[in-house]
Symmetry: none
Subunit: 126 residues, 4 copies
């Protein structure tokens, strides 16, 4: 799995990494139990600082997306903490507000969500 970083984006690099990995797990490109690259490998491959990679992994661990083991490094857990759910639902409310105000109808939103959800189950191909 290749991570693309946009250094000129508004969103911090460590968060971009976190987001891409979350997306990767959700759509099946990263499978539960699968090993993630080491901090060093990740840092070199993406051209980022190792401390930034560390920050991303710590965040993912705290949210329950990955498990960090001293011996085997970071592996995908396959789930996430419930605390994430609550926070996410609040954010969802804001996004739906924004979509509504840009003229997206309710059914369009539901279709969009449905498609997005379905798409995640078909990313099995490497």
């Amino acid at each position: 799995m290749i991570l693309k970083i946009d250094f000129s984006a508004d969103i911090p690099v460590y968060r971009q990494i976190r987001n891409e990995i979350v997306l990767g797990i959700a759509d099946g490109r990263l499978k539960p139990g699968e090993k993630l690259p080491s901090l060093r490998t990740l840092a070199i491959e993406t051209g980022i600082n190792m401390m930034t990679a560390d920050k991303a992994y710590r965040l993912l661990k705290q949210e329950g997306y990955i498990i960090i083991d001293r011996r085997s490094g970071a592996t995908v857990s396959g789930g996430a903490n419930d605390a994430v759910t609550l926070q996410t639902k609040n954010e969802l409310r804001l996004l739906i507000s924004q979509l509504k105000l840009t003229g997206v109808t309710k059914s369009e939103i539901l279709n969009l969500c449905s498609e997005l959800y379905d798409t995640m189950n078909k990313g099995e191909k490497e």
Copy 2:
């Protein structure tokens, strides 16, 4: 409309204000054409600095949510720029990934979105 600011949150104050106003417009508490408080009033009422208030209004203006009139201050526009839509859809994908990984099913997500959307129509024409 009262704005609640959490000064210890990790989300910037000017963005909290922006978000609350977007939510307010979407759910009808703020109606198109309605006048928003002046920069000074907003700053005093919420206990923030004028420049922070200015930053929030500038962002809202840039996104098309409000119109800033040289004579009478800021008013609600009722819509938003298309650029917002695209950005929002990307963010939506991440949120749905997160919900999926915390065990929320597809139908639960769709119900949640539906409820959120409907809640926003209180006090407005359907």
Copy 3:
């Protein structure tokens, strides 16, 4: 001649009026010797404050575009002060820089200028 004011624009109202009148003179919709509306009329028709209208006329007078006579009000002079030329040439340099950086070629710029100039001689129809 009808003046359109955009109260939500970044450019001050008095300057919008000034600009529209300059454009009107240049393209022949306003002819030398022609009488401009009184401050009061202008203010009422455009929905602006009389002081704002006054400011616009004072600026136009100072630049030589109009002549203000106590008895007959403001009339179009047909020219402008040389001081305007110098200032304008400086501004022109910036605009051409901007066009160049947005990918407009030299010949496109020259064609554009040529067209703009020619268009101004055909605005004879009221």
Copy 4:
């Protein structure tokens, strides 16, 4: 590249900085990919406040003239957004009106534009 600020001019400081940088890019004194001074450096060197410098950079970023990189600050992008083109063309019409009314002939205007454009290619590929 040295930026000259006129603190008594009626054009805001942050806009003067923006203009000088645009001119610098267009005439090749600033090359694409080149690093601009940091906010702090710029503020100290020109004797302005950091927030004013920030305002100038934000504007340049929004217009597409520069890229702000989280790692190393601001760099010249070499282009600009299309939205700038449209705005600029409108402003061009006004300037040409003004020149016409101060007695500058069409061929003089075209020559002037041509010279201004050519002057910008010093130190660059034709």
